[in-house]
């Protein structure tokens, strides 16, 4: 593979890796800090993707559009809508055992998928939305646009990372982790457990929506298959578990690591004879499933385990 080709391949890996890092950071806020099991990441990702796409595309006779807003507005809309949906789900489930939230989140993801596929007036159904703009799309195009996008994605990752770190160290974050580790004592001290949990879930969902929006703007095209639960929900869980749940740095490392592994193995499997290519995708699925089990049993805290931040006393 010639050098520029290799370089831009790396760029594409880093872009997708950045979007995954965003998803992992979001999930870490929900699971690592809040102890909530969100099994419907794909749903919130989808809401964000479609909201951002609809808000930013030009008009079309076939579906809702024509707002032509700038990308940043699209992403904000994505965050808001995904956050609102998360709020509804959390409000209903948060006082029950975590298994119920898991079921409800899968349900909402499924319902959203149905809406996306069936309401073509909104989403153009399975045909998908085309012509989704890139940020700064008027100024750059082609390969340089990819580089610009790479910077854009990672700038957002940085912002979210800083926000997450701030949350982690804050009194809010500490209360949250106290609730996660020992709910009874936290309640005894007077913490409103439900409110914290809802807040956590909403913030995480909002960031997942942003990730979805970024994905739509990257590929410039969006269809229901872009939110495949295997790639979005499942892989993100494996990434977070492997990288270190409860740990923001670990979330990013896990995302980049697992995504690189996934992409690189794809190079090899693409070279296999045709009958083996489909086989190999199932083998990859199987290995990812096994990897999750392995990480759950041996490295629950992941490669970079959680370290409690030193308490800072007012001087």
């Amino acid at each position: 593979m010639e050098l520029t080709g290799l370089f831009f391949y790396l760029v594409s890996i880093l872009i997708a890796g950045g979007i995954y890092a965003l998803l992992c950071l979001a999930l870490n806020i929900q699971w690592g800090m809040g102890g909530l099991f969100n099994a419907g990441i794909a749903g919130f990702f989808a809401i964000g993707a479609y909201t951002s796409a609809i808000l930013t595309t030009g008009g079309s006779a076939k579906h809702l559009g024509g707002f032509g807003l700038p990308v940043i507005a699209g992403l904000v809309g994505a965050a808001v809508l995904a956050g609102l949906t998360g709020w509804a789900v959390a409000k209903i489930c948060v006082r029950l055992k975590s298994d119920y939230l898991a079921m409800a989140s899968i349900g909402i993801a499924e319902i959203l998928r149905l809406v996306i596929v069936n309401e073509s007036w909104l989403t153009n159904g399975s045909l998908g939305l085309a012509g989704i703009p890139r940020p700064f799309g008027d100024y750059v195009s082609g390969r340089s646009a990819d580089l610009v996008f790479l910077a854009y994605v990672w700038a957002i990752v940085l912002v979210v990372y800083l926000v997450a770190m701030r949350l982690y160290d804050s009194p809010w974050g500490r209360s949250l982790r106290a609730i996660r580790d020992n709910e009874e004592s936290a309640a005894a001290v007077g913490k409103n457990i439900e409110r914290y949990r809802v807040q956590t879930f909403v913030i995480g969902c909002a960031f997942m929506g942003v990730a979805g929006g970024l994905s739509a703007h990257y590929f410039r095209f969006l269809s229901p298959s872009a939110t495949d639960p295997l790639l979005v929900t499942f892989l993100v869980w494996v990434m977070l578990m492997a990288g270190g749940s409860g740990n923001n740095r670990g979330a990013i490392v896990g995302a980049l690591g697992i995504w690189t592994l996934w992409s690189v193995t794809e190079i090899f499997t693409n070279r296999l004879p045709p009958e083996w290519i489909t086989r190999s995708s199932y083998i990859r699925m199987l290995l990812v499933g096994l990897l999750l089990q392995f990480v759950l049993q041996k490295f629950r805290s992941g490669i970079l385990p959680e370290k409690s931040p030193p308490l800072r006393f007012r001087e």
Binding site: V117, R279, M285, L292
Partner: protein, 297 residues
């Protein structure tokens, strides 16, 4: 009216049977092992393909081959419990839920690896004409078989749970696991039987579902949410309640697309699967213990 019975009521009872059988397993596992088994749908798929594989070898009606599906599902469930779930039992149950999420993927990819991902139709000797009763009612033979089989299983299950030692032990463990240990009950045997019964019933459900449409790798996963809804509706830890819940969900789903008001369907058929979800959400808001006062855990 006749159309209603033929095209809505009978199919509703048939899909209700599938949901009932699956929901029983989910409710029992939730009650005894205390976690939501996300791999239960794919366990059904494993059962379906077990029957399919046997049907490729033995030229008899697939219904007679259901023991093969059950055997494959039981072995898979026990293996998965031993290797993946048991090591996590000392931890908060949410870890086992996450693990079951992964196990679902493992089952699905193994099925695809061995059988490919296209739909496979059960060869039940050509297309059978529907049963015609009283010259007006038409019902597919398979649907009748599903409802009859489920009813028989329901009776057997009730007998097992209320009259046998193992059944009573299972109810005791579901009621209070610590007291069960103090009373000296063999909790490991109870866990084993939970998987055996859950897997066997899932295989039967999978077979009927597969024969009704076709066998494909996502068969079970697609049915998971309605089965969860049914288990919650019936009350967690109440297997007979889950059976009732399965039928209620089946009826709600099928009857929702009937043209109750005017000429067109009340709810568009493409949103049929949303019905179970809405019911589940309403339950979680209003009455999470379900109809038969199950446990909230």
């Amino acid at each position: 009216m006749i159309d209603f019975i033929n095209f809505y009521l009978f199919p509703a009872l048939a899909i209700g049977s599938v949901y009932a059988l699956g929901a029983v397993g989910i409710s029992m596992i939730f009650g005894i092992l205390r976690f939501a088994h996300f791999a239960h749908g794919d366990l059904m798929t494993v059962g379906t393909y077990g029957v399919l594989a046997a049907a490729a070898i033995f030229p008899v009606s697939p219904l007679l081959l259901v023991p093969f599906g059950m055997a494959l599902a039981i072995v898979s469930a026990l293996a998965v419990d031993k290797v993946f779930y048991q090591p996590l039992r000392k931890l908060p149950t949410i870890y086992t839920v996450i693990s079951s999420f992964g196990v679902a993927l493992i089952f699905r990819s193994l099925v695809q690896l061995f059988w490919g991902s296209q739909n496979q139709v059960f060869n039940s000797g050509g297309v059978r004409p529907p049963l015609v009763l009283f010259d007006t009612f038409r019902v597919s033979v398979l649907h009748v078989q599903a409802v009859v089989a489920t009813s028989v299983i329901a009776l057997l299950l009730h007998f097992f749970l209320s009259r046998t030692k193992t059944g009573r032990s299972m109810r005791a463990v579901s009621d209070d696991p610590e007291l069960a240990q103090v009373a000296g009950l063999d909790t490991e045997k109870v866990v084993r039987w939970t998987w055996i019964i859950g897997a066997a019933l899932a295989a039967v459900a999978g077979m009927f579902a597969g024969m009704d449409t076709s066998a494909h790798p996502n068969l079970g996963w697609n049915l998971l949410m309605p089965m969860f809804a049914a288990a919650i509706l019936g009350g967690i830890g109440k297997p007979m309640g889950a059976m009732a819940g399965g039928y209620i969900i089946g009826l709600a789903e099928e009857l929702s697309s009937y043209n109750w008001i005017g000429d067109s369907a009340l709810i568009s058929p493409s949103y049929k699967t949303a019905v179970a979800f809405v019911i589940m959400i309403v339950l979680l808001i209003v009455k999470p213990q379900g109809l038969f006062k199950g446990r909230l855990l």
